[in-house]
């Protein structure tokens, strides 16, 4: 029977079908729903939100060394955090199948980089699976487990955003018969040493070579002729859509790496021209160039390197249709009416009633006339950079704000440095930054925004909440106690929705020295119920516009000079009432 599944759900259910028994991960768009699906729908499988990707991968590594089938989920930049254990784990090897799902984000739609995990796979000497659709991902993840178990090394599985957040009707199949004997048995290869690394390296190279010449049924070759298109991942869907069921060229689909040289050589035979359509890096393109040089095949290769396909950003299916049609000598239908270009500009903004708006405003108010730098971090609060708040000067990667703020101060004494960090980011990689700051006598103010959720990725729990991935209770780890234990001398707390209290909290640490911490608490609107509602009293309002121009709350807009409060969006946080000097906004 078919079910409508999001790609991430398909990956989760496919892994469970393949007998996965331990799943770990850290939330990150577009990967988060994979682990959520396991935690919600398959409670017999152990699933955990780890504090970061490195911890997730290491936890899973232990289980895989003990013979379990394990899966680790993260977004592409999460793989950077997990890369230290992963690089070495490939050398020690594992026993049970281990699949690391690292979701790439062409565009990027919701990420800091456009890195290509296929490239990472080559660097780390790992096999990589590249599904082109939710249906394929559902089946392919079982292949990934089988291969990993066969070669006794971890493998990468890298869907992209349009596979993860695409959806399709997927035929669900009965579970595979995967009997596991999970027992940790000592093995000298689990202790990495230079000698072992060398020996493993020899084996890894041999395995990769064998895999590159082996036939994998999902690496497919169809069609005939002197023109050929090579593609993989979701780009294959765009190419198929452009071809519209007529295959008057050769079509190579690469679904797994190391690059399959056997099928690729058969593809190149007899071709004059090849078009390569792939998002992110020209991985297939470069492999085809290498292969054609090695095999002395004379063929023109068109793609990113030749400038015919763009080398940054996400593909749109229509843009691929134009390139494919041109390559095949066909016309593309032209657009008719041109839509006007003066459409509203809508950058993402903090929600109406978001606690971060109050925190940013409090720091902004307290810092009037002060020469300050505001380091941001990864999470909803990156959106504090939007005008009118305009409170984020740097944003680099998870946990970087705290350490960067210390560094800025080392180079520019004249600045007062602030670092904003969310609760989940604090646990992820923020704590080590605070230890570094205290240890090295840094001078900065760290603002911890505790909104009781990993909000940007959909509100997953974290160690400060007393809940694990499937909602069961666990010990609650106090942010304040950690900061205290590290030895921070000045710690103040305030309610993010109480602007007076929040401003005085900031002021109280401004003239102090060393590492200072402010903890602002206020729940994300996705966590807590509506607080109430606010209305503007038009008799009292003097149309000064401050409530709109100071806050950037999506529920407040101006029509001419008159402010309008959209009651359906307002969460009654009361911030606009604070800002209004005329008492024209009443909240209940």
């Amino acid at each position: 029977m078919k079910q409508l599944l999001m790609g991430n759900e398909a990956i989760a259910l496919g892994a469970v079908r393949a007998g996965v028994s331990v799943v770990t991960g850290y939330p990150g768009t577009p990967s988060s729903e994979i682990l959520e699906t396991v935690a919600k729908r398959c409670r017999e499988v152990y699933a955990e939100w780890s504090v970061n990707e490195k911890s997730a991968l290491e936890t899973a590594a232990g289980a895989a060394m003990s013979g379990a089938r394990v899966m680790v989920t993260m977004k592409q930049v999460g793989l950077n955090v997990a890369s230290d254990p992963l690089m070495s784990l490939n050398y020690t090897g594992i026993v049970g199948g281990m699949v690391i799902v690292a979701a790439d984000d062409p565009g990027p739609v919701s990420s800091q980089t456009e890195q290509d995990t296929r490239r990472f796979g080559k660097f780390a000497k790992l096999a990589v699976f590249d599904p082109s659709s939710p249906e394929e991902a559902y089946l392919m993840i079982a292949d990934a487990f089988d291969l990993s178990e066969k070669i006794k090394r971890p493998v990468l599985f890298r869907p992209t955003t349009r596979v993860c957040h695409g959806y399709a009707s997927v035929e669900l199949l009965p579970p595979l018969d995967v009997k596991r004997d999970t027992r940790f048995q000592r093995n000298s290869r689990f202790v990495i040493f230079p000698k072992l690394a060398y020996e493993s390296h020899v084996v890894i190279e041999k395995t990769l070579k064998e895999l590159s010449t082996a036939d994998y049924p999902r690496n497919t070759l169809e069609g005939a002729g002197t023109l050929g298109i090579a593609t993989g991942g979701v780009s294959h869907a765009y190419v198929s859509e452009a071809l519209g069921g007529q295959l008057n060229c050769k079509l190579l689909k690469v679904s797994a790496y190391p690059f399959p040289v056997g099928v690729a050589e058969r593809f190149l035979e007899g071709l004059t021209d090849v078009l390569v359509i792939e998002e992110l890096d020209p991985v297939i393109e470069e492999e085809l160039l290498l292969l054609s040089a090695e095999k002395k095949i004379n063929v023109n290769i068109h793609g990113k390197r030749s400038g015919e396909v763009k080398n940054a950003g996400e593909f749109a299916p229509s843009e691929i249709a134009v390139i494919v049609n041109k390559f095949l000598g066909k016309d593309t239908a032209e657009a008719t009416a041109q839509a006007p270009s003066n459409l509203p500009i809508r950058p993402p903004v903090l929600c109406a009633g978001c606690p971060h708006r109050g925190s940013f405003l409090a720091v902004k108010e307290a810092c009037k006339g002060i020469n300050a730098v505001f380091c941001g971090d990864i999470g909803c609060y990156t959106l504090g950079n939007a005008k009118p708040l305009d409170m984020v000067d740097t944003c680099l990667c998870m946990g970087a704000g705290i350490t960067m703020a210390a560094g800025i101060k080392r180079a520019d004494e004249s600045k007062t440095t602030f670092a904003f960090v969310g609760d989940s980011t604090f646990f992820h990689t923020g704590i080590s930054g605070i230890i570094n700051a205290v240890y090295n006598n840094a001078d900065e103010i760290i603002v911890i925004l505790d909104n009781s959720a990993t909000a940007m990725t959909g509100g997953q729990p974290h160690p400060g909440l007393g809940l694990v991935a499937n909602g069961s209770p666990t010990a609650k780890i106090s942010i304040e106690n950690i900061v205290q234990a590290i030895g921070v001398q000045h710690i103040v707390k305030a309610n993010a929705f109480d602007l007076d209290e929040a401003v005085s909290a900031v002021k109280s640490v401004l003239d102090k020295q060393g590492v200072r911490v402010i903890i602002f608490s206020g729940e994300c609107i996705a966590v807590s119920k509506r607080r109430g509602k606010c209305v503007i009293d038009n008799d009292k309002c003097v149309n000064c516009g401050l409530c709109v121009t100071k806050l950037g709350c999506p529920a407040l807009t101006l029509s001419g000079k008159t402010p309008t409060l959209d009651e359906t969006l307002c969460n009654g946080c009361g911030l606009c009432a604070y800002v209004c000097g005329k008492g024209a906004i009443a909240c209940e």
Partner: protein, 197 residues
């Protein structure tokens, strides 16, 4: 039946994801293959969001290519215009008429949706505009997505009966919100009762 591609355009937070799932679920239950894509991530915080639902066995791409959409359901006039390039020549558009104003200053001056509505009226022959004020007198604003679903079914723009639509709502919507959503479905389905599709 032939393929049918539906595009849903709105602003993050308006419930496009549920709407696409309702259509997708209902189509699947009636025996059709479905694929599509959602906008999930940063843009859900008030950015422009688009969902795609493609019904029928021979679609490949989760995103609808330009000029291939048969139906556009829009929560807001400006977002309807933004998705206009996806529409086939004879596509139908069902749109709410009230502009969602961005909270950031606009380079082209104040946006009120008027020019977007005018563009739609000029360029879309099968245009069905829902007056939001009139609609919200009868339904909860939180159920606007389900009302749009109802309107599309009522107008015969989706290959679904109202019973199939109801079933999809029952399957997908949590118990405590069920009655407001079933009401929205009915109001939407009857909104254009006097219009002949």
């Amino acid at each position: 039946m032939n393929n049918l591609s539906v595009v849903i355009a709105g602003v993050g937070g308006q419930g496009t994801v549920l709407l696409s799932r309702l259509i997708g679920n209902a189509a699947l239950t009636s025996g059709q293959d479905v694929r599509g894509a959602e906008t999930i991530g940063m843009a859900q915080r008030g950015g422009s969001v688009v969902s795609h639902v493609r019904i029928g066995a021979d679609t490949h791409s989760p995103l609808t290519p330009s000029h291939k959409a048969d139906l556009l359901l829009a929560f807001e006039p400006g977002e309807a215009v933004r998705a206009f390039h996806l529409l086939a020549d004879n596509a139908a558009v069902v749109a709410l008429d009230r502009a969602v104003k961005p909270s950031v200053p606009q380079p082209f001056g104040e946006y009120d949706g008027a020019s977007a509505l005018a563009f739609l009226k000029e360029n879309v022959s099968r245009l069905y505009i829902i007056e939001q004020e009139k609609l919200f007198r009868q339904i909860s604003p939180k159920a606007a997505n389900v009302a749009l679903f109802g309107a599309a079914v009522g107008l015969g723009l989706l290959p679904l009966s109202i019973e199939q639509a109801k079933l999809a709502v029952r399957e997908r919507v949590p118990e405590k919100f069920l009655s407001i959503n079933l009401n929205a479905l009915d109001v939407g389905a009857n909104y254009f009762a006097e219009v002949t599709p």
